[in-house]
């Protein structure tokens, strides 16, 4: 317990009040008036308003699609990248540095960079695809709901893969070589040794990656803010962007907190579910 206490105390000292306050805010109607902030208790009023708000449902649907796809894509791509970089050909330091760069670029600059790349008129993606003959006319990548949401997804996957791949690479390096050797002796092919040796050993790491990525994908904000502002016509409004807009643009602090608390509840349930499903119990038993 002595090992854990300092961390818990630090977390409680910093986050306890803000978290409790945000839950309380969600139960109030808050207005800026008379040079001060007036607060009025309205119970679950913000939540009933929320559930009859079509924009909220639109954003919830967008978020569901976005985070499910993101978790799947990031996990699979990261695992693939980690396997590549763990292969004798991929062990050069060059690849490892390259892996980290997309994640290291400041998100603000990253989002603006992609805004230029994806621009419908002078973006380099259009220019490249035209010169390769893939498309004949400039495409408005961020102009239609489905395409815009998917491009947000691609950009977010691009910057999320590095860390998860790094995590998995570290995990791969912990798989004892003796296990592969044993599998080889038993006549297992590469695919079988991946299934029977690599994946089971990596289970804990993959579980962490999925849980963390779920948390992060439910709170994507900066990309939406720079690339689309939730548009066109709320097609790319994600829940966290909505929470931001309501809190900081509309100054409707109570309602914004209610949306944030919905995100919290969603994340909590999903993360608990994943931990329950994926966490390697047998290792715990061996303690």
């Amino acid at each position: 317990m002595f090992f854990v206490a300092p961390a818990l105390i630090v977390l409680a000292a910093i986050l306890f009040y803000p978290i409790v306050d945000s839950v309380l805010l969600a139960l109030q109607r808050v207005q800026l008036a008379g040079g001060a902030v007036t607060q009025e208790w309205i119970g679950l009023g913000n939540f009933t308003r929320l559930f009859s708000d079509p924009v909220f449902w639109r954003a919830a649907l967008n978020t569901a699609y976005f985070s499910v796809m993101e978790v799947i894509l990031v996990t699979l791509i990261s695992l693939g990248v980690a396997l590549l970089l763990n292969h004798p050909f991929g062990r050069s330091g060059f690849f490892r540095i390259l892996l980290i760069i997309p994640w290291a670029i400041a998100p603000v600059a990253n989002a603006v960079l992609w805004k230029w790349i994806l621009n419908a008129n002078y973006g380099v993606l259009n220019a490249l695809l035209k010169s390769l003959g893939v498309i004949d006319y400039n495409q408005v990548w961020l102009g239609t709901p489905f395409s815009a949401l998917n491009f947000l997804l691609i950009v977010d996957v691009w910057k999320s893969v590095p860390f998860v791949a790094l995590l998995m690479l570290a995990g791969l390096q912990r798989v004892p070589q003796s296990l592969y050797r044993a599998a080889y002796m038993d006549g297992a092919g590469p695919w079988q040794s991946f299934l029977n040796v690599t994946l089971p050993t990596m289970r804990g790491v993959i579980a962490i990656a999925i849980v963390l990525q779920t948390i992060w994908s439910l709170r994507v904000f900066d990309l939406v803010f720079v690339l689309t502002r939730g548009g066109p016509a709320d097609a790319t409004a994600l829940l966290n962007f909505l929470a931001y807009r309501v809190t900081f643009n509309f100054l409707d602090l109570g309602y914004g907190s209610a949306i944030a608390n919905v995100i919290f509840a969603l994340t909590f349930v999903l993360a608990a579910l994943y931990v329950w499903l994926l966490w390697p119990r047998e290792i715990k038993g061996a303690r």
Binding site: G35, V37, R229, D234
Partner: protein
């Protein structure tokens, strides 16, 4: 005045100004014992910024501080982040500023501001366009003074317009549509605008408000309730929809005006609405491929004549400020005729003082000043209210649906009116 000389030297280094605010005023002589530290919250250039934050009138600024026994510290931030930081500080009751920049947010933050502009000297007020106070007036009291005349006007590519067979800028909606249609060829478009972000001044809803006023409509009725579900409201949106075939299809995805500006600067769009800063950008050989080809004109007239909206860049004083008088003096200095003149000559942002706008030297350096002055003779209400952000998101989102063809103009306007009515009623 050795002391003052020292101070001026100090301030010349700029970065030390912040440190100065924490120093006791011990190098003030007896006569100037009341040293005041003024904290000013300002956008960063190239957005409109005051002397000291932007590079103009720096000597006059140092002299003003010395003469008035005041030290001014700027807290600067990129424009897109200003509102968030102000909102957080005000909502927490911990705003540290004496003077803040404001842009259509006066009704929203009114309770944290003082109506100092009612006390400005008459000579100064008489030299400002009366309508410039529209966006800073709440309940009959003036909370701010606009410091740059920033109205949307039409910017266009002369060369493309001549190729399309037009000798001068379109004067009416019909000419505008025809001209845009003719210019749309060879991978170029007649018109470009940023329709991606529904909210705020310069967002989709505010562009519709331009057309709305050209059609003779208003957003709110006398009772303060929305009143745009009208022929004018629908006609304005229909005009935008009619322009879509000649509009860069990327427009619906451009979230900032910079995205659209670049298309005009690349020579691949013929016309757009833009703010006065565009003049310098369009003639900068590093950014622009249409140097010398760009001109500005008054926006075309709808049923009721031309109209525009107001950028509303204003200075306000916070209630919490302990230096109300000095703060007002500083704003008066920002609006001083000579400072206003340097503002336009050195930064390109037009002055707000009519006398400076009429100055031949100013008109020579900023040929669009005359156009903006002309535009200012027509209506340019931005319809800012305490709910402005929320209202523009509601209207802008419906406008986007009509532009995408998923709703008719009439349907979108009807739905927008319902949404805005709900917002206004909730406010109570």
């Amino acid at each position: 005045m050795v002391h003052n000389f020292n101070r001026r030297q100090f301030l010349g280094t700029g970065a030390l100004a912040g440190a100065m605010t924490t120093m006791p005023g011990w190098f003030e002589g007896g006569a100037k014992a009341q040293s005041a530290a003024l904290n000013v919250f300002s956008p960063l250039p190239p957005d409109p910024a005051p002397p000291g934050a932007a590079k103009f009138s720096e000597e006059a600024f140092a002299k003003w501080q010395a003469d008035n026994g005041a030290t001014v510290a700027y807290e600067t931030l990129a424009w897109p982040q200003l509102h968030d930081r102000m909102a957080t500080a005000f909502a927490s009751g911990a705003a540290p500023w004496d003077i803040t920049y404001n842009c259509g947010w006066v009704p929203e933050f009114e309770s944290f501001l003082t109506p100092y502009a009612d006390n400005l000297p008459k000579a100064l007020v008489d030299d400002l366009p009366a309508t410039s106070f529209a966006t800073t007036t709440v309940g009959g009291k003036r909370y701010g003074a606009v410091f740059t005349l920033s109205l949307l006007t039409l910017f266009y590519n002369k060369e493309l317009m001549e190729q399309a067979g037009f000798k001068e800028a379109p004067k009416t909606w019909d000419e505008f549509k025809a001209c845009a249609k003719e210019m749309t060829r060879d991978g170029r478009f007649g018109f470009v605008l940023n329709y991606g972000d529904p909210a705020g001044i310069g967002g989709t809803a505010s562009y519709w408000m331009v057309f709305l006023q050209q059609a003779g409509g208003k957003v709110y009725g006398e009772d303060g309730m929305p009143a745009f579900k009208s022929d004018e409201g629908v006609a304005a949106l229909q005009m935008m929809v009619d322009l879509m075939p000649s509009t860069d299809p990327g427009s619906i995805s451009y979230a900032g005006i910079n995205d659209a500006t670049n298309v005009l600067l690349a020579g691949r769009a013929g016309m757009m609405m833009n703010w006065p800063f565009m003049w310098n950008a369009g003639n900068d050989p590093k950014q622009s491929q249409i140097v010398g080809k760009m001109t500005s004109a008054v926006l075309p007239a709808g049923l009721k004549g031309s109209a525009s909206i107001d950028g509303t860049d204003a200075w306000t004083i916070t209630k919490a400020s302990k230096n109300q008088d000095k703060a007002q003096k500083l704003i008066e200095f920002y609006l001083d005729a000579e400072v206003q003149k340097r503002q336009v000559l050195d930064t390109g942002w037009l002055p707000i003082r009519l006398s400076v706008l009429a100055d031949p030297e100013v008109q020579a350096k900023a040929p669009n000043a005359a156009v903006v002055l002309e535009q200012a003779k027509h209506p340019y209400d931005s319809f800012v209210t305490a709910d402005y952000n929320q209202v523009t998101v509601a209207i802008g989102t419906e406008v986007q649906k009509a532009l995408q063809g998923s709703k008719t103009a009439a349907q979108a306007i009807a739905d927008a009116q319902d949404a805005v009515t709900a917002i206004v009623k909730r406010r109570g």
